[in-house]
């Protein structure tokens, strides 16, 4: 990938992930998130995995998660109802780090 302003999905495509298809390590409660006015997760997630769908509801895709923990720290309304690291051997696998 040459040097340019690149979207998050495109950046993440450089990374090695072993996605745990059976188990989402992070889960959100859309109802709670609907009532969260600030939605800090939209801005602080380095992988931009929190997005608003066409109905304005929050959606989250755990597949590109970098496991940094920022969303957990910033989630004020507790809409993130589950935050764990992926099962052993799954998730991001940095080749450089």
């Amino acid at each position: 990938m040459t040097i340019d302003i690149v979207s998050a999905p495109e950046l993440l495509s450089n990374n090695k992930f072993n996605v745990d298809e059976e188990n989402a390590h992070i889960a959100i409660n859309v109802e709670i998130c609907r009532n969260c006015a600030d939605k800090p997760c939209l801005y602080v997630c380095p992988a931009v995995l929190y997005r608003l769908d066409k109905n304005g509801d929050l959606s989250f895709d755990y597949a590109g998660c970098l496991e940094c923990g920022t969303c957990r720290v910033m989630c004020q309304q507790k809409g993130i109802v589950k935050w764990q690291y992926p099962r052993g051997g799954f998730g991001i696998s940095y080749r450089f780090g």
Binding site: C45, V48, G69, G88, Y94
Partner: protein, 428 residues
């Protein structure tokens, strides 16, 4: 259900956990290191740079064998204001001469894997791909860990599970992380041929640059960094997430613009991005250290305990992690009474200068909390420079005029300069 027993179980094969395992294994202890990544290092991210003295304290001569990138000969600070940049460079041959250069740029996947292999040589057992889910407690004492279906027992458990340390939280040693206590760091690794890097940065073979960048965070508390590796450049930025949320502009987007800055782009032009990472970093320094990084049967080391220093010009985590791991090992070798290990650990942290060092630079947090550092001051510096360097055939303004105009343009006062200057002198 299997049941095994060890002298020590270390959770996390980062530098803190490995340093501890290395020392304990060297002294003949049965040590198990459990790492959730398949390979040590594969979950870890740094800026980054590593100060070598810590590795020499593990074993003399270890640095020469280590998987490191370039020895840092060029220390740089870059202040960005719009498309403009002010650069300060300090070149010190003494930092790279001698048998052990002061610091190296570093990538964690290769370094951590190498370091773990050294602990294995000492006799430590390291297993990857297993996540510790919980601690086992018996009569108020930690006696082992649970990983999936397995229970493993040990005289002592060492939590070296990083900045989020879910283990220290489960043990009741820390609460939730406050949003102003951490920075979110993002980084791209950009491949370039070694000779291109050396040419662009004016480096001798094997030498490297460590650059801090101020003014690239849209006014948010934080800053950028650039490190030259052997055949890649680590370019990234750290932001206070609380201010990012208020600013409502994503860290990914702000960082992408840094790449295209006229003073940065020519350095990475033609390169290939091969990885994008994100990681939290503790920003509280001494005040972020766990009040009690231990309880009976458990010691907390490295990032998990908050051993990180950020002075603006240097950021230290890996070296302190190693020292804290050594301190834990020394404590466990000094006493066989688990009730006394915690106080021995604190003594060792003093002896190895971890706590005294962190206490001395405690004031930097207040200095870095001056919000003017992240917008008005970079703009002011660039405006003054512009006043000094601009020649347009008109009668040039006097220096005093340049400065007062630059202050006014950036809504600063002489009083701000004096007050913040004094704060700087006092806290640093």
């Amino acid at each position: 259900m299997s049941e095994e027993r060890f002298d020590a179980i270390v959770i996390g094969a980062g530098p803190a956990g490995i340093a501890c395992a290395y020392k304990l294994a060297q002294e003949g202890r049965e040590v198990l290191v459990i790492e959730r990544a398949d390979q040590p290092g594969a979950k870890n991210l740094t800026g980054g740079r590593f100060y070598t003295y810590a590795l020499e304290m593990v074993a003399e001569g270890l640095t020469a064998e280590a998987e490191l990138e370039r020895k840092v000969s060029h220390e740089q600070i870059m202040i960005i204001s719009g498309p403009r940049a002010v650069c300060v460079e300090y070149i010190d041959p003494s930092f790279v001469s001698g048998e052990v250069p002061q610091s190296y740029t570093i990538l964690r996947a290769s370094f951590d894997r190498w370091f773990a292999s050294k602990a294995e040589e000492m006799g430590a057992m390291i297993v990857g791909g297993i996540k510790v889910d919980d601690l086992i407690e018996k009569n108020g004492r930690i006696v082992g860990v649970i990983a999936g279906e397995d229970e493993m027992y040990a005289d002592v458990v060492i939590a070296a599970d990083g900045v989020n340390s879910l283990i220290a939280r489960k043990a009741g040693l820390r609460g939730e992380i406050a949003s102003q206590s951490v920075g979110i760091g993002v980084k791209e690794v950009i491949e370039l041929p070694p000779e291109v890097i050396e040419q662009r940065f004016n480096l001798a073979t094997g030498e490297g640059v460590a650059r801090m960048i101020l003014g690239c965070t849209e006014g948010i508390h934080g800053g950028g960094f650039l490190y030259t590796n052997r055949d890649s450049i680590s370019l990234g930025a750290v932001f206070m997430p609380e201010e990012v949320a208020a600013h409502r502009h994503s860290v990914h987007e702000i960082f992408q613009h840094l790449k295209m800055h006229p003073a940065i782009y020519p350095l990475i032009e033609g390169g290939t991005t091969v990885e994008y990472g994100g990681h939290l970093v503790s920003e509280d320094g001494y005040d972020g250290i766990l009040k009690r990084p231990y309880r009976e049967g458990l010691l907390v080391v490295g990032d998990a305990a908050g051993f990180v220093i950020n002075t603006g010009s240097s950021i230290r985590g890996i070296d302190l992690a190693i020292l804290s791991g050594l301190a834990a090992a020394e404590a466990l070798l000094a006493t066989s009474n688990p009730a006394l290990a915690g106080s021995e650990y604190m003594k060792a942290l003093e002896r190895l200068q971890v706590l005294p060092t962190m206490k001395t630079v405690r004031g930097y947090r207040d200095l870095l909390n001056i919000e003017r550092l992240y917008g008005p001051y970079p703009d002011f510096a660039a405006d003054v420079m512009q006043g000094m360097y601009r020649v347009d055939g008109k009668v040039p303004p006097k220096m005093k005029k340049i400065i007062t105009t630059a202050l006014k343009q950036n809504k600063l006062s002489l009083w701000n300069l004096i007050k913040d200057g004094l704060k700087g002198v006092r806290s640093a």
